[in-house]
């Protein structure tokens, strides 16, 4: 892949991922955090 196309692809992806994170962090961060803070009992075979 030519160096300038690689540079453009990387910058586009960098911007896209940053925009996705910025756009959804407020609404989804706590949902993801709940997976860490609330123990999934069935996942590890408790009970």
């Amino acid at each position: 892949m030519k160096s300038h196309s690689l540079l453009i692809i990387r910058l586009v992806l960098l911007l896209a991922f940053t925009a996705i994170v910025a756009g959804f962090v407020v609404s989804q961060y706590e949902d993801v955090r709940s997976l860490v803070t609330v123990l999934c009992l069935s996942c590890i075979g408790i009970g």
Binding site: V21, Y29, R33
Partner: protein, 267 residues
């Protein structure tokens, strides 16, 4: 470089367990394979997050909230920056495999030599998402060997009030099987099964940090390929293949100083 890698692997094991201090239990997906059901987990396992969303756990939300955009974005940023460098230098389950492989001796070859097969981990990734969606359950978590080691067994040790059911013993069985495989074949999980490795591997051709070969210096002795834990078979594949964990063993083995791990936006 190998000493530095041991240090970073143990450092990331410690970082992954910062949830020991409850205030540090975050909603950040980690760029490696570590179970969020661990009593001390500080980060969310992306594979667990993707499964949870696929299982429809948030289906009462608006449609846009049912897709794990935030987790995809975070993992995308991790992948775009370093690719599978995370597997080689940070993943606690990779560290376990490296520790188990010490049984064979530092330079010993795999007891069973298996060729490189790149597609199996992508099948695992796809299958676990389809199963999570079809069963409306995070079924892979129930058999995940990393979950066994980092969550089920520690929870059993710290939570004496719980009773442990069938899936606890399923966890122990899968862990026992993969531990035997780790003794026989170096980095077996990373090479053939890891769904997180599949996700990060997609970014290997695009990641900013790469293993780069200077072919003008290369003598084509192939010492680098003979020590490669990912069993990469061609020098040309080191740069872009989905299996390279950037462990740096090829860099150490190169007498001609032709291989380097370097960061570049353009190459």
């Amino acid at each position: 470089m190998s000493k530095l890698r041991w240090i970073t692997q143990f450092a990331f094991l410690a970082i992954a367990n910062l949830g020991l201090f409850k205030i540090l239990e975050t909603g950040i997906p980690c760029p490696f394979f570590y179970c969020y059901a661990c009593p001390a987990a500080a980060f969310a396992c992306p594979i667990g997050v993707f499964q949870t969303y696929a299982s429809g756990a948030f289906q009462n939300y608006a449609i846009l909230q049912q897709v794990p955009f935030y987790a995809i974005g975070v993992v995308g940023l991790f992948g775009l920056a370093l690719g599978r460098f995370w597997c080689g230098w940070a993943c606690p389950f990779g560290l376990v495999q490296d520790l188990v492989s010490l049984i064979r001796g530092r330079r010993a070859r795999d007891m069973i030599r298996l060729p490189r097969v790149a597609w199996t981990k992508f099948v695992v990734l796809l299958a676990l998402l389809i199963v999570a969606w079809a069963a409306a359950e995070t079924l892979f978590c129930k058999i995940c060997p990393a979950g066994s080691l980092f969550a089920a067994i520690p929870q059993r040790l710290v939570s004496t009030e719980f009773s442990f059911g069938t899936f606890f013993y399923v966890h122990l069985a899968t862990l026992a099987v993969v531990l035997v495989l780790f003794v026989l074949v170096g980095r077996f999980w990373c090479r053939f099964l890891c769904p997180m490795g599949a996700v990060l591997g997609l970014f290997n051709p695009l990641s900013i940090l790469k293993v780069r070969v200077d072919f003008s210096k290369c003598s084509h002795c192939e010492d680098c390929l003979s020590v490669c834990p990912a069993k990469i078979e061609k020098l040309e594949d080191i740069l872009d293949c989905t299996d390279c964990t950037r462990c740096g063993k090829c860099v150490e083995s190169c007498g001609a100083d032709a291989i380097k791990i370097s960061a570049s936006l353009r190459r």
